[in-house]
């Protein structure tokens, strides 16, 4: 199973104002990123990992932390046979 965490960290870094986000930390609880960023994040994940997020995928629990996003991406890639 691929580890995508560094790629995910990379997209978040510009928004974190130097804050050292832990991999299991709630991204949106930091107070550094507002809710309008969430669509941008999901679109980036789709593009970067060549997956489509729809319906049940669009649950905050899949995108709450770097680890959660990594698990979600891996699940989608496995389901797609990548």
């Amino acid at each position: 199973m691929e580890d995508n965490r560094s790629k995910i960290q990379k997209v978040l870094t510009p928004y974190l104002q130097g804050y050292n986000l832990k991999e299991d930390e709630d991204i949106f609880a930091t107070g550094l990123i507002n809710s309008l960023f969430v669509m941008q994040l999901v679109l980036y994940i789709e593009k970067e990992f060549n997956i489509t997020c729809q319906g049940e995928d669009l649950d905050m629990d899949n995108f709450r932390s770097i680890n959660k996003i990594n698990e979600f991406v891996n699940g989608k890639q496995v389901a797609a046979g990548n």
Partner: protein
Amino acid sequence: MPEYCIPLDSPVPKAYGEEIEKRIFFVSSEILDFNLKIEDEHIHQVELVTQNSIDVASFTEKINFVVTNDVLTQKIFAPKVVWNSQGKREYEKDLFQQLLEKGIANEAAEGQVSFGEPLISLMNLFDRKIVEIVKSLYNAQEYQYPTLIPTQVLDKCGYFSSFPHMLMVATRFHSDLDVYKEFAQEYREKQAVESSLLKYCQNTDYCLPPTMCYHTYHQLKGKTLEKQVITAKGKSFRFESRYHQSLERLWDFTIREIVFLGPKEYVLECRQKLMDATFKLVDELELDAFCEVANDPFFCRPDTAVKIFSQRMMELKYELRMFTEPDHTISVGSFNYHEQFFSDNFELKDSGKEEMFTGCAGFGLERLVYAFLCQYGLDRENWPESIRRETDEKSQ
């Protein structure tokens, strides 16, 4: 009536149908009725019935703009229900028709319904019950607001960029003797008030409020604030175009609103406590209802999809929906979290100069009564004992 078939630029997946249906009447008041033409799981055309002949090219452009800008940019979410009531009920058929026939309700004009008993007593009772909950949960302060709201307040609330299609303006004659004289002369000649009336009206300082909480942010603007809860009831106005229907979707309706201000955790806790207490009340009354994640009806914003996406994904808005028929529900209340949107625009800060967070809950009182009667009918004997006891028997 003229009928037209408007082609979409490209076939649209059927899943977007509901989002298109919510917007078509707002494209133009010329549209009297419409139907989405679906083949092979895709929408290919929108069939229109219009009041007058239309310029097909212009309507094709308008409809495709809305589909491209407001609909296709959205991601389709699976419904997310966070609570289901225990009540499962029979439904009264054609309740609104019954109300009209008995003279209890009267369609005064588009989206405007007048009504008498027992609806007045029920509306007052449901309002009292909500206020009792609010006062038992928090040390809430109650206010009575004017009906008019300054246009600049709606501007600060972002209403013109988010919901221009629902705006209702309260204007008046330009205050000048010549204007009155000219109007009086025209009226004497025509003996009718036509749309030319507007040429005499230059004042745009006031609007009709679409909700009560905007008054609260205006009231608190720039003040140093403690965490607090404020509640108010008042008439609210939203232009719903031809979507108005019975008592379930009005242009002119009554909201009981509760506003929460304070640190993020406080606001979210207030919202959750009110949701829990409301669910308890709905269950006590054995009403058939559920609560789900929802979004506001943003229209024609460049970032409509982003706003809707963030509301649904971050669960910023929940709606309490009650059944009026076995397969039809209406939203009777919403529970909202705004992050610091209103604090940014109204300088709502605490004593440490930290921006506050806000949230609100709003209950549509006509809708609550209507849904209750759809589920229990007009015969008092079938109502829950507590409702019978607390409403005047003469109200029947």
